[in-house]
Each structure stands twice: as C-alpha cells, then as structure tokens.
Symmetry: D2
C-alpha cells in the first residue's frame, strides 16, 4: 500500500528547471512518509518537458533513485528509447509511460507496439501510465490481454475504480495504482496504492489516511479522503496545475517557483485569494497547526 506522488517540476523565472527546489521537495515528501516519486508525470508537466529536461529531473533526484518511477513518454519514439537507455545508470524502481496522445484514430496495434518496444529495451520494470482523458486512448486491461502484453504496473488515472480493478483481475501480479486524488482512499484500501497529485501539498494527510487504513480505522480514513477532495475542489477553481505550486508553498514552507507557459502561474491576486481560502479551510480543520 504505497503513496506515490507525481512530483511538481519547479521552474525558474527564466523557464529552466529549478533542480535544487526539486530535490528539496522530493526529500521533504519522502521524509514525511510518501513512498514513491513519479517523475515527469502530468503534474510535473511531463509532456511540456524536453528530453533533456526529463533526464535532468532524474539526475537531480539520483539520491532517491530506488524510490523513483521515471516517466519517459514522448511523441518521438527515438527520444523515448534514449530516455530509457539513460535510465539504466540509475537504480530506479520502474520506468513508466503514457500512451501516444494528440493524434486521433491511431490503430490499436501502434499503441501496443509502443509499449512493446519499451519492454524490449528497458532495464527496469515498465509501468503503463493510462490517462484516457489526456491522451484520448484507454490502454485498458482488455486491450493488453488482446495483444498478450503483460506489464509490471499501471497508474490508471481514471474516475472509474472498477476499471483499475480490472487490471488486477486480468494480471494479478501487476502493480496497480489508481491516479485520481478523489479516489485515493479506495485505491490504497484495495489496490497497491495511490498516485496522488495532492500529496505534493498534503503529504501528511495522505500518510495519516494510509495509517488509518492500516489500523483498520476506515471511518477516519474517509474523513481524510473528504478533506483531500475538498482541496481538489478549491484547486480546480484556480487551475489545478498552477494552484498546486501555491498550495505546496503554503503548506510546506518553501518555494517551488511556478509552472511554465502555457501552464500559466496564478496572478498575484489569485495567489493571495487561494492562499487565504486554503489557510481558512485547513485551519478550520486543525491541520495546519
């Protein structure tokens, strides 16, 4: 039962990645009890990072390599292969990739070929990152079965928990994480864990939720889930990807800079409003102190 955080990528004002801030953030999250770090995910603006930036993110987190899932997906398979090879110098837990995206009507067999090539070349276990809402493709358990493709794990970002469960039924040895913040409780309880972007700013809550489940105190676990879901609701009003930078700064006490356009940072006024809203909310729950 693992808490996996798809880590934010902090950018400097000039648009370059702030590796020091990335390291600080990862170290803090692991220290607070998060189990694994998912690098270059959607929350980390993976599809907006160049091949070189993806590499540097891994390099920056080399000290925590055994806790890292390294996302390598791109629309240029040569680059993807290069990233996979690059990862062989690091003792990471797994590589992961979303499917091709943007292009509509890709034949199923191209999607499968993509993942088969990853499996052939990767020195590490290969995890599927399934995110139909973003990519337009559902690399479902049925599709994997149809093409006899067995993968080591899956991050299924999907509001349908039954869909995530199906991976486990079809491939009992597969490591299955649902990737929705609002289903984290259930994913911890009945799958192998959760990949939760909110763990960037609320790591302690996730750890408490997990501990509640371990103790068998499901009611308390559900209280944490509701709290987390409420913060998701607040973040979405501002644009979740950018709000997460502000929320993390507010709750963790260090700056992560901001995102990079076209994921635009919140404007000053929005930042302040969000900070006030979240501080009020968390104080009302006694979480901040």
């Amino acid at each position: 039962m693992e808490i996996v955080v798809p880590i934010l990528t902090p950018f400097n004002p000039d648009g370059s990645v702030n590796k020091e801030a990335l390291r600080t953030h990862a170290s803090n999250l692991l220290q607070k009890g998060v189990d694994l770090i998912f690098v270059n995910g959607t929350t980390g603006l993976g599809p907006a990072l160049s091949k070189e930036e993806k590499k540097e993110n891994l390099k920056a987190l080399a000290d925590f390599a055994d806790r890292i899932i390294f996302q390598v997906g791109e629309l240029n398979i040569d680059n993807v292969m290069e990233l996979v090879k690059f990862s062989s110098d690091y003792g990471i837990k797994a590589i992961a990739s979303y499917s091709p995206y943007y292009f509509p009507r890709l034949p199923e067999k191209w999607l499968i070929s993509y993942f088969k090539r990853l499996v052939e070349i990767s020195p590490h276990p290969v995890y599927l990152y399934n995110y139909p809402l973003a990519t337009g493709y559902d690399i479902s358990p049925k599709l994997l079965s149809k093409f006899n493709l067995e993968l080591a794990g899956v991050k299924d970002t999907n509001q349908d928990l039954a869909h995530s469960l199906e991976y486990k039924s079809a491939f009992p040895k597969m490591n299955v994480y649902n990737g929705s913040d609002t289903l984290a409780f259930y994913s911890l309880l009945t799958l192998d864990g959760t990949v939760a972007s909110m763990a960037n700013c609320l790591p302690t809550l996730f750890v408490e939720m997990k501990n509640s489940i371990v103790r068998g105190d499901l009611k308390r676990g559900m209280v944490y889930q509701r709290l987390i879901s409420s913060v998701v609701d607040i973040a979405r009003k501002y644009g979740q990807l950018s709000a997460l930078y502000v929320l993390t700064e507010t709750t963790q006490g260090y700056s992560l800079g901001g995102p990079r356009g076209p994921i635009f940072p919140l404007e000053e006024e929005e930042r302040n409003q969000l900070k006030r809203e979240i501080e009020l909310f968390l104080k009302s729950l006694g979480v901040l102190n």
Copy 2:
C-alpha cells in the same frame, strides 16, 4: 477559394527529416495548383517535431515562403515564441498554432493568453488552428468573442461545418478554412477554402473540384468530393497518417520515406494491400491514366 495542403513531413530511416523530399513534394503540389502549404500541422506530425525540426521545415521551404502558413504550437511557450521570432526572416503568409493540448481542465483564460502572446509578438498574421478532437479544447468563435480576441484566420478541423461558419459570422474579415477532407467541397464553396490532408496524394482532384465550383458545376464538384471521401475511408483502415505516405508515393511517383514512431510506418504487406486497393479504386474511376 484556396486549397491548403497540410504537408507531410518525410523522415529518413534514421528518424531525421528528409528536407529534399519535403521540397520536392511542396514544389510538386504547388505546380499542380494547390494554393498554400500548411507546415508542421497534424498531418506533418507537428506535435511530434522538435523546435529545431519545425525551424528546418520552414528553412527547407523558404523558396515558397509566400505560400506558407507556419504552424508553431508547442507545450513550451518559450519555444513557441522562439519559433515566431524565427519566422520573421521569412515572408510567409501567416503563422498558425493549435491550442495547448494533453492537459485537461486548463482555464479558458490560459488558452486565450496563449494566443494573445502570439498576436503580440508575431510579425505575420496569426491563424488559429482549432482541432478539438486532438487538443481537447474548442477555441470557438464564442470564446474568441468573449475575450475580444480577433485573429486573422482559422483552420477549423471539425466535422461541424456550422461551427466553421460561425467564425465568419462573428469575424467577417477572418480567413476561415474547414480542415476536414470530407467537407472540402462545402468549405471551398462557402468559406475561404479548405485545408485538406488528402491534397497530399490527390492534389489534382482537389484542383478539379475547385475548378468545377468556379465554373458553377456543383454536381461535378460533388463527384470529386465523394471520390475523396472514399479514399479517406480506405486510408483510415490502415491508419490514416501512415497511409498518406504510401498513397502519395503511389499517386505522385516519388518517395517520402515514412513517418516516425509512434506513428509507425505500414508493414510491407499492408503497404502492398493499400497500394492495390487504391490503384484499383482510382483506375475504376479513370483518374490514374
């Protein structure tokens, strides 16, 4: 009334762009009567090209600059700005960009900010490339109006022709092209033209269709449309993006290499089957000889 071709990007076996083939192809299409060339579009695998590759495509086609619409979209706005600046050395007709993609739930105002920045910096007219099925966002006429954003043109890749018409109603001076092959006849007839991927392999048919419309022979125009739609149907069975390379080779008599993974080239057997199918179809219609 213009025929715009979103030009295929030919790749060498090593994954690099084959600039010579790109030039040959562009030259041939223009000679056959195509009016404009849309560079780095979806058919050209734009989202799978690096910033450098996008630049080189423009450089390779510099001789035809006045016939070129240069697509600059990326998920890194610094790169996009660099591409726009790069274009200032070329006397192109316009730059264009699709909206941000992949990331779900981006606030409307970020989408608009993206295009506003293009307008601010671009030395050329700015065209919207609206493709909701690929990007997840509809930069609709209503959205543009809401934010008072007037653009010089739009390629609306959308099966709803009424949607394309709405741009014209809201912004009478806007250059409006529908981007669907199966609606090209209508787009030529009542908008400013069509952006049609099938014009890569069937340029003469598109020119004949346009000429029929100019002559007022709509019935004959519709015959060409049906023919084109039938070829789309055939291409989709194989994976349209890759099939277009084979179809163009078959009808135009020169090689364009192939696409680049994860847009995988057709396998030998598929190539042959597609060639046979298309030759049979075109011969039955007396087009090939």
Copy 3:
C-alpha cells in the same frame, strides 16, 4: 429538394393536444411552401406523446396525408407495430422512427431488428430517424450496410454533413435529409432536402432559401442560412423547444398554446424578452414587414 418541417405539437392548458391548432399550423406551413410535414418528431415532443396522442396527430392532419411523414417510435415495440398498422388507413408518404433510446449498451442487432420489423409490417416506405445525440445510438450507413438493411429514407440529425452524405453514397436510392437547422442550406443543395425545426416559425425564409438555390443564387441562399442560424442561437438561450412556440406565435400570428412539462413553457418575462429580441432582430433585417 424538399423542406420538411418537424411540426410542433400544440398543447391545451389541460395537457391535451390541441388538434385544431395543429391543423391550422400545418395548413399555414404548406400554403407558405413547406413541402412535407414530419409528425411526432423531437420538435413535436414525439417521445413524450402517448400512442393514442401519436394516432390523433395523424388523424388531425389526415387532409394533408400525402405530405406527411409519420414518426412512430417508442420503447414498446407492440405499440410501435400498432401505430404502423394504424397508418395503413392513411395515404402518407412514409413512416419514420428513431431508434430505441435511453437504454445504454443495446446490442447492434437489436437496433437492426427493430427497424427490420418496421419494414416487414409497414404498408408505407420506412424512413430512419437517426439522432445519436438524443438516442445514444448512431444508426450509421456502415451499420445498415453491415446488416444488409436498406431503408427508403433517413432524417439524419447530425452536425456532421459528411455522415449524411455517406447514406447517399452507400444507398443511392435512399431519400436523405440532414436534420440540423444550421446546415439546412447545404442539405438542400446536395441532399434531398432538409428537416428543419425552424421552419415552424420561419417558413418563408426557408422557402426563399430554397428558391435562391434553385435559381443558382448561392450567395443569397447563404444569407438566409446565416439568418436562420442566428435565430437558432437566440432560441437556444431560452430552451429551444419552448422558444419555438413563442417564435411561431410571434411570426405566424396564431397561438399554438405551449409545450407540456417537463418541457416547460417560458415564463411571462422570458416570453416577452424573447419576443422583443426576435422582433428586433427580424425587423433589422426587414423580414417582418
């Protein structure tokens, strides 16, 4: 090239159908040049009418039987069969039916069986009323071909005109009408006509649009299309189904009562606002006088 109006069903304050008003309306529309009347369609609240009410609508319009397409669809096939038999006493042009609706995941063959039974029993030609947005099912040309089901006609309510064209390509003898108000011009120009709910309140505009096309004056035809599309835009702000009653009253000078809950009539203030808005719009265009 026919203009087909999916006629509004006028209701009395007690919820019963106002047959006299229905007759008056049909007579007026035909006199103004509308070609055919589609009874019990979506605009006529067909799915909200009982079997008996559907019969009475046909009875009330018996004088115009040869101009009538009689929609018989329901979720109880015994009722549907009864309606088909009932129609044998009337010399109507065709019966029509939407597919089953509401129930998700019906197997294709049940959908086809439904229409096959209509064909077996009907004394009149059978038209498909394809409306995927309402029913959840696309009875596409490909589906009909797959099951070897040839129908006499189709009303394809679909923003994708290419989809409507495909029926004609697959079944050249099929009578094909697109059912979208915003595509009526194109449907008149290149298919067998249009089924247009706005012809309830703007019959003369549709007739003028058709005449423009017949004369070859496409530019003028497009002017009418834009006008019609603008009225659709206005109507949708109020709830199109109910707004049509008010718009028809305003332009045609007689009352049609109102719809029946849960298609709620506009409130007094909304009615007045809509009337003012439409009168202003039409006067500005010189249509009303």
Copy 4:
C-alpha cells in the same frame, strides 16, 4: 448499509406484465436478504412501461410496500404527478425519478423544476435517480446546491464513486447509493448501500459481500465483488438487460418470462450458451452447490 435490487419486470409472451412472477421474484429476493426493491428502474425497463404498468407493478408488490422505492419518471409530467398521487395509498419507503431524458439541451432550471414538483406533491421521501449515461443529464450535487434543492436520497448510477460521495458531502442527511454493479463493494462500505441489478440473479453473493463487510473481512468482500464484476462482463456480451432474465432463471430456479421488444429476448442458442457459461463459471467457484 442496504442492498437494493432494481427488480426485473417479467413479461408474458403477449407483452403484458407477469405480476405473479414479479411477486415471486420480489419475495424470494427479500427472503434471501436483499433489503429494498427498486421498482420500474432501468433494469425493470421503467422507461418502456406505460403509466398503467408502472401502477400495476406497485400494486403487485403491495405486500412488501415498506421495502419499496417506486420509480415514477416519464416524459409527461402529468403522468408523473398521477403516479405520485397513486403511491399515496401505499406505505412505501420512497418515490424516485430519473430526470427527463432523450431531449438534448434542456435548461438546468427545467430539470430542477421537475424534481421540485415531485417534492411538492409527494407524500413520501423523494429520491433522485441520477443516470447521466442514459438520460444525458447529470443532476449533480453541485446542481442541487446551486438551486437549493435538497432531496431525501439518490441512486447515482455512475462509474465515478467520487461523484456519489459528493452528494454525501453536500447533503449529509441524504441517503446515497451508487448504482453500479462493479462498485457495489465500495458503495456498501462507504455510502448507504448499493443499487445493483446483478442482485436479481446473485442475491446471496451480495448478502455475503455485505456480511463480510459487516464482519470487517474486506478481503473476502472484495472476492465477492470480483465475482460479481465477472458476471457483469459475461452478461454484457449478450446484452445485459436480456441476459439478466436468463441468469436469474438459471440461478433462482423460476422463470421470469422475458423482456419486451425492443429489448429483445436472447435467442435459444444464445440462452443455452449463456447458461453454460455462467454455470461453468459459478461451479468453478463453488457457488451453485
């Protein structure tokens, strides 16, 4: 923590409801430990039943009135009101209704008005039956809050469990049931229960699942969930609505006749194949003996 079964409506060969079979089935389910019966739901072909048939279903089950939720939805609000009044003679637990369906683009306030009228007139608590996939409308907790409409309960047929949870967060006193068979375990565990069509044919499994949860044996509960999900998978291959009649006959030992067109009964060969498949599956699990 309640198991609610949306009861099948058994039809005679002549298309009339077989009330005796309905009673037998209800009695058996309740005896086996199902808590409540949802009458005229989707599984019961509610939208395909006439107003009179809906009444007769309630009449037939009068002996179990206190265990009944009576679904009254129709597209004619006068009929709906009549059904609500009819229910006042029965000591039922609640009435319920899906929202209006079929008609696209109904304004939010019409949807809310519909439910407000139910609340005004109903002598019983009013439950929302939210089923966006079937109706096209999501009567979400946010929508209810926006219009200040508080309802006594909700059956949320929705693969997104977080959506169901939101009702509970917004309206803590609301009775919340998720309506998906594949999420029943979670719905029992953290909401007020489940509405599960599969409880028609697998009542004992649902009861065992519930008992496992009560005992705190979640692992065993999940085993039952997977079993149930597998049966859903099998049923869907045949057309779930019709397959349920066959499955119930097979597991419960009495006949329920069949559905009514256009929900067509399985053909002889399909029935036999399904029976074999399910018997094999259940025997392999030791459930049938």
